[in-house]
C-alpha cells in the first residue's frame, strides 16, 4: 500500500523533518550521511517513536496524525522491519525468530515454521535454522533478520541497512533475492542504505537526507547523474562544483572557472567524473580548455586504478591507473596539473 508521511521529530539538538511518499509496490531508497535521521524516520514510520508533528498515511489508513491525536501502535501496523542492529530474540531459535511475526498474526506453528524455513533458505541460512541468534556470525544474523522482516505480508517494509554485514558474494545473491521479492511485493518499501549499488539495484526512487532534511529526490539514475549536494556527488563518485553560468564558462563559487560545452546562465552545478580527469606533472599543452594547478591530498587504490583527491582552486577527484600513478611519482602533497575536456563536464541548473 502507498505511504505518505510528513513528520517532524526532535532528536537531541537536531530536528528531523521529513516528507516522503512511496507508491504501491514502489521501493524508496533513503540515502544520507551518518546521523542524518534515516533510522529516526523508520522508527517513526514503525510507530516506535512518536513524532512531534505530522501525519503518516498508508493506503487510506491514517497511522499517525499528531494534530488529531492519532497514533496507531506499532503492532497494529502490519510492518516488516529490519533493525540496524538486528535485534533477533536471543531466547528463540532462528526459525522461531522468523516465524514470530506469523505466529502473532495467528498462523499455526507448523505452517509458520515451514514459511520461516523457506525464507531462511532464500537468504542462505537454512542450515542454521535451529541455532540461537547468539550462535550466528554477524552476517548470518543479518540475513535471519531480513528473513524475519520479509516473511508474512506486511503493508510496509522498513529495511535499515539490511545488507551491510554481508560479504560481497552473499550480498549479490541476497540482493538479487530481495530484488525478486520486492518486484512482486505489493506494499511500499523504505530501504535505508549507504551503498549506492543497493539503491541503484533495488530502488525505484531515491531520497537523499542530510541533517534531517530531504535535499534531493528522484530516480536513481537522475540522482546519480545530477547530484545536488556534495554528499551525493561523492557517493556516486563525482566532483560537484556549484557556480554561475556565464555562456560557455561557469564561474565557480569557490573561485576559478570551468569551460563547458553548453551555453548556461544563472546558478548551475558542474559535475566532473573522476575518469575524465587527467593528471600531468607539468602544465600540459593541447586541446583541453580546462587546466588547473592542484595538490594531491589523498590517494586510495581501487581495483586497477587509484582514486586521487585533489585540492586547489578547483577541488577534483581523479581516477588514474596504478601504472600512471607510479610514473607520476605521486604522493600526498605532490603538486600536479589536472585537465578535463569541456565536453566531459556535465552542467545543470541548481
Amino acid at each position: 500500500m502507498s505511504l505518505a508521511a510528513s513528520v517532524a521529530v526532535a532528536r537531541g539538538p537536531m530536528t528531523v523533518g521529513l516528507d516522503v511518499a512511496v507508491a504501491d509496490g514502489e521501493v524508496l531508497a533513503v540515502l544520507g550521511p551518518n546521523g542524518a535521521g534515516k533510522s529516526t524516520l523508520l522508527r517513526v514510520l514503525a510507530g516506535l517513536l512518536r513524532p512531534d508533528d505530522g501525519r503518516v498515511v498508508v493506503g487510506t489508513d491514517v497511522w499517525v496524525d499528531v494534530a488529531a491525536g492519532v497514533h496507531l501502535p506499532a503492532h497494529e501496523r502490519r510492518l516488516g522491519m529490519v533493525f540496524q542492529d538486528h535485534l533477533l530474540f536471543p531466547h528463540l531459535s532462528v526459525t522461531d525468530n522468523v516465524a514470530f511475526g506469523l505466529r502473532t498474526r495467528g498462523v499455526r506453528r507448523g505452517p509458520a515454521r515451514a514459511a520461516a524455513r523457506e525464507w531462511l533458505a532464500r537468504v542462505g541460512v537454512a542450515d542454521l535454522a535451529d541455532r540461537r541468534p547468539g550462535q550466528l556470525s554477524g552476517g548470518q544474523a543479518q540475513r535471519a533478520a531480513l528473513a524475519r522482516a520479509l516473511v508474512g505480508d506486511p503493508a510496509l517494509l522498513l529495511l535499515d541497512e539490511p545488507l551491510s554485514a554481508l560479504d560481497a558474494r552473499t550480498r549479490l545473491t541476497v540482493r538479487a533475492e530481495l530484488r525478486r521479492h520486492l518486484a512482486d511485493y505489493g506494499g511500499s518499501t523504505v530501504l535505508v542504505t549507504h551503498d549506492p549499488v543497493d539503491a541503484m539495484a533495488l530502488a525505484d526512487r531515491v531520497v537523499v537526507v542530510e541533517e534531517g532534511r530531504v535535499v534531493q529526490a528522484g530516480t536513481p539514475a537522475d540522482v546519480s547523474r545530477h547530484p545536488r549536494t556534495d554528499y551525493v556527488a561523492r557517493l556516486v563518485g563525482l566532483a560537484l562544483l556549484p557556480g554561475t553560468g556565464e555562456g560557455g564558462t561557469v564561474r565557480l563559487e569557490g573561485g576559478g572557472r570551468v569551460a563547458v560545452a553548453e551555453q548556461t546562465a544563472g546558478p548551475v552545478f558542474v559535475a566532473v567524473r573522476p575518469e575524465s580527469v587527467a593528471l600531468y606533472p607539468s602544465r600540459p599543452d593541447g586541446s583541453p580548455r580546462n587546466v588547473w594547478p592542484a595538490r594531491l591530498v589523498a590517494a586510495t587504490p581501487h581495483g586497477s586504478t587509484v582514486r586521487c583527491e585533489l585540492a586547489g582552486e578547483v577541488p577534483l577527484i581523479a581516477d588514474v591507473t596504478a601504472t600512471a600513478f607510479a610514473e607520476l611519482g605521486l604522493a600526498p602533497g605532490t603538486p600536479v596539473w589536472a585537465s578535463v575536456k569541456a565536453s566531459e563536464v556535465a552542467v545543470y541548473d541548481r
Binding site: A46, G47, L48, P73, A74, H75, E76, R77, R78, L79, G80, M81, F83, L87, L88, F89, P90, H91, L92, F100, G101, R103, T104, R105, R148, G152, L158
Partner: protein, 268 residues
Amino acid sequence: MRGRREAGVPAPLLVPALLAVAFLVLPLLGLLVRAPWSELWPQLSSPAVGQALRLSLVSATAATLVSVVLGVPLAWVLARSRIRGRSVLRALVTVPLVLPPVVGGVALFLVLGRQGLVGAWLDEAFGLTIPFTTTAVVIAETFVAMPFLVISVEGALRAADARFEDAAATLGADRWTTFRRVTLPLVAPGVAAGAVLCWARALGEFGATITFAGNFPGTTQTMPLAVYLALQRDPQAAVVLSLVLLAVSLATLLLLRDRWLSRAGAAA
C-alpha cells in the same frame, strides 16, 4: 612471561564474598554441630511433623504460584507502563515487607475476617469463612511473600533491554503477546530469583500465618509454627525441626533451581 591461567575471582570480590558465606553459613553449621541428633528420629517419625512439613511445602508453593500469577503482572506495570502515581504504588507494594507480620495478620482480618470488608460479604453471600483454614495460610504467606517477588522482578524488568519489545511490536505482537513471548523469557532468571525469594519467605512465614490462620495441626500448622511451639517446651527439638525444614528446602531449591535455571540459561 606470564603463563598463569585466567584469573579466578578478584580478591576485592572474593574476600567480601567469603565473609558473606561465612556469615550466612557458620550459624547453620553451628546449629548442625550442636543439634541433638538423637532427637532426629523421634521427630521425623512423628506424624505431626510430617503433616506440618507437607502443609508448609504445599502452602508455600501455592503462595508462590499465586504471587507469580499476580505479582509478575504487577511488576510489569511498575516497570513498563506509564500510569500515574507509579512511584507511590511501588512504595506501597514494598511496604508490607516492613509491616510486622503479626500486624499483617491483623490487617488481613480487617479485610478477610468474619467481620472484614470483604470477608463479611463472603460469609453472607457464600457462607465462606477464610480464617483458620489452609486457604488462610496461603493468603497470609502470599501477603507477606509477594512483595519480594514483585520488587525483584521489577528490578529485572528495568535492567532488561526494551528494544526487543520494540522488535516484537513491529512483528505484530501486542503488549500482552510481547510480554508472554519476549519479555518474560528474557527476564526468566529474574523471575526465578523472585520466585525463590518468595517461596523461601513463604516457607519461613510465621507471624501473619499464626495470626490470620491460627495454628491447628493438619490444617494450618506449618513448620515454623511447629518449630515455635516446640521452642516453648523443648528448644532442642525445635532446632532439629528447623534443620529438617532447612534440609527439605535445600533439597527442593537444589533440584528446582538447577532445573529452572538451566532452562532459563539455555534461553539466554
